[in-house]
């Protein structure tokens, strides 16, 4: 009997190519149109290197903020039912839907000019044209990705595992740090990577709060508007290339760390 052609799989694969092309073609096109000598010359361009370092650094601050403050919120949303939970979940998702320039304006109004801004300023924390402002813009637009990822991680842990830990003498705090967090660690890493990557690519909210010092996306925009495509493209290619390399490295590191955590003995 002749084996039947897996038409369904073939059709699904062909349709998948559409999505893959949408993502891959611009990146490949950008790389193929940029000579390697142009890329290498950027390593001697102080402005470019400073903007890339600043981008990575501020995205890291935004991610650390999310890990410290977003993880408890993700845990609460995953494990507890309370009045207004839907509202809180909707609020967490707002940054995904709001245009990022509008988000920048909102952040500017609250944190740079209003009473909250004055209070923060009195604490020595200014958000207008500072690293703190850049990190704030990045954190605002990226934190939903982190919270959703970690929330799913916590929610996927069988409740009975928590119950057993309690019966074995663990307090709620010990259950969180010795059971829930280690089990959900892969989601925390994934969420952090998502958050950090989303932070690096942020432009709209940051450009309102802090045009200077310039993060890489702002520099690419400035070079494009001032000097044209030829000047901005190599910077864009370098940023994308560095992001890909860092992402791959972090994936490897986080994978092995999570693997080790899962094999952890007492």
């Amino acid at each position: 009997m002749k084996p039947r052609m897996p038409y369904f799989i073939i059709a699904m694969s062909l349709m998948s190519l559409g999505a893959l092309c949408l993502v891959a073609l611009p990146v490949l096109g950008m790389f193929s149109n940029t000579p390697i000598s142009e890329l290498l010359s950027l390593f001697g361009d102080g402005e470019v290197m400073a903007s890339i370092v600043l981008t990575f650094e501020t995205a890291l601050y935004a991610t650390l903020f999310a890990v410290v403050f977003g993880t408890p919120l993700a845990y609460i949303l995953a494990r507890y039912d309370f009045r207004g939970k839907r509202l809180v979940e909707s609020m967490v998702s707002i940054p995904i839907m709001v245009p990022h320039t509008a988000a920048g304006i909102a952040l500017l109004v609250v944190f740079a000019t209003g009473p909250v801004g004055s209070f923060m300023s009195s604490l020595g924390l200014d958000f207008l044209g500072t690293k703190a402002g850049i990190a704030l813009g990045m954190a605002f637009v990226s934190v939903p990705f982190y919270i959703d990822s970690v929330k799913d991680g916590f929610a996927s842990v069988d409740r009975r595992i928590e119950y057993v830990a309690r019966s074995l003498g663990a307090s709620p705090r010990q259950v969180f740090f010795h059971v829930m967090l280690p089990i959900a660690m892969r989601s925390v890493f994934t969420g952090s990577l998502l958050m950090w990557g989303r932070g690096i690519s942020e432009f709209g909210a940051v450009v309102i709060l802090a045009y200077h010092p310039m993060i890489a996306p702002v520099l690419i925009y400035e070079r494009f508007t001032s000097f044209g495509l030829k000047s901005s493209r190599p910077v864009a290619v370098l940023l994308v290339a560095l992001c890909i390399i860092v992402f791959i490295l972090l994936r490897i590191i986080s994978g092995s760390k999570v693997g080790r955590a899962e094999n952890n003995r007492h």
Partner: protein, 349 residues
């Protein structure tokens, strides 16, 4: 002694309502009931994972109703083990001691000691995801046992295991009981499991205890139709009672008369005849048995170690006979036989 008094807990339309339940120290107490009957809810209340709407739970004379699970310190073993996936076997077993601040050599020695005692030291250093179902359950029991809890809660602990592994696990539980002497509060829907392990059984239905007592009493004298059905009884009939005293007869809804030989105290209800109280005969015979009812063999079903013979006597009746008896009688479907049983074998439900 664990004493549960007047516990009520309502979730939506479901309500758990337990009047009084007393579990003696070092006993094996089984709460038997179908899915959705409230047995897991009761176990969670005993463990302190949820709080009752009213009522109290006492352990060794102390009211523990308001205590947290960690203060109660009861061990829990779930159906699917609920082992910590980020820890290996030793990490799981040592978890409770680690939470109490035990570290280093003392922790390792305690873990290795209990693993050796329970015959699972070959699992030392193994990852959780490489264990079989039975090994996981042994690790889960060792994890609970290492803290020497006075009470271990077993939640359908053998449901996901195959027959052979289940038998091995039941032996394992019996051994633990003999060597460590904890009280077991065991919930299950499996009557055979209860028969094999329990000292006392409570049968729960729709949030209420349908019958409670020593295991043999539940098995031999189910108190109502639900318990009889749930404990695997086959010959349960609805109908009406006529006559009085030794002349009392029960007539099934299909019109079969069965002598019960005593007052039933009511005009209608249900009766049950245990399948192993029935004798099959090719010919009618005189004996102290009051009932000798003719019928035809409708089915012969091989069971574990026995055969179940269905006989149509005007309504279906089932009897257990050994393989040897089946061969000697050369029974086959359609044969005419007599079902014989004493009036005292008839239980009025």
């Amino acid at each position: 002694m664990l004493k549960i008094t007047g516990i009520k807990k309502t979730y939506g339309r479901f309500s758990l309502n337990i009047g009084l339940m007393e579990i003696a120290p070092a006993s094996h107490y089984v709460l038997l009931g179908p899915t959705g009957s409230g047995k897991t809810l009761l176990m969670n209340l005993v463990a302190g994972l949820i709080r009752p709407d009213s009522g109290s739970i006492e352990h060794r004379g102390v009211d523990i109703t308001g205590m947290s699970p960690e203060e109660r310190g009861f061990g829990i073993v779930y159906q699917d083990s609920a082992l910590f996936p980020h820890l290996d076997v030793a990490g799981n077993i040592g978890f409770g001691l680690r939470m109490k601040g035990v570290r280093g050599g003392e922790l390792s020695r305690s873990v290795e000691s209990i693993m050796k005692d329970l015959g699972i030291n070959y699992l030392l250093g193994r990852r959780i995801d490489g264990l079989s179902g039975g090994e996981k359950q042994r690790v889960a029991i060792a994890r609970a046992l290492i803290l020497r809890p006075a009470l271990i809660l077993l939640d359908e602990p053998f449901s996901s295991l195959d027959y052979m592994t289940r038998q091995g696990m039941m032996d394992f539980i019996r051994r633990i009981r003999a060597e460590y002497g904890p009280t077991f509060f065991h919930i299950t829907h499996d009557f055979e499991e209860a028969m094999s392990l329990a000292d006392r059984v409570a049968v729960i239905n729709d949030g209420k205890i349908a019958q409670e007592g020593p295991m043999p009493r539940i098995f031999h004298s189910p108190g109502n139709v639900f318990v009889a059905n749930f404990t695997g009884m086959r010959n349960i009939y609805r109908g009406g009672f006529t006559g009085a005293g030794s002349d009392t007869v029960f007539r099934t809804e299909s019109g079969v008369d069965i002598f019960i030989g005593r007052d039933a105290g009511r005009t209608e209800g249900s009766i049950m005849v245990r399948a192993d109280d029935i004798v099959l005969a090719k010919n009618p015979f005189e004996s102290s048995a009051t009932n000798c009812l003719p019928g035809f063999v409708s089915e012969i079903l091989p069971r574990r170690g026995i055969n179940e013979v269905g006989v149509d006597i005007g309504c279906p009746m089932h009897a257990y006979i050994t393989a040897r008896s089946l061969n000697e009688m050369a029974l086959k479907k359609g044969d005419r036989v007599y079902v014989v049983f004493k009036a005292t074998a008839v239980h009025v439900l």
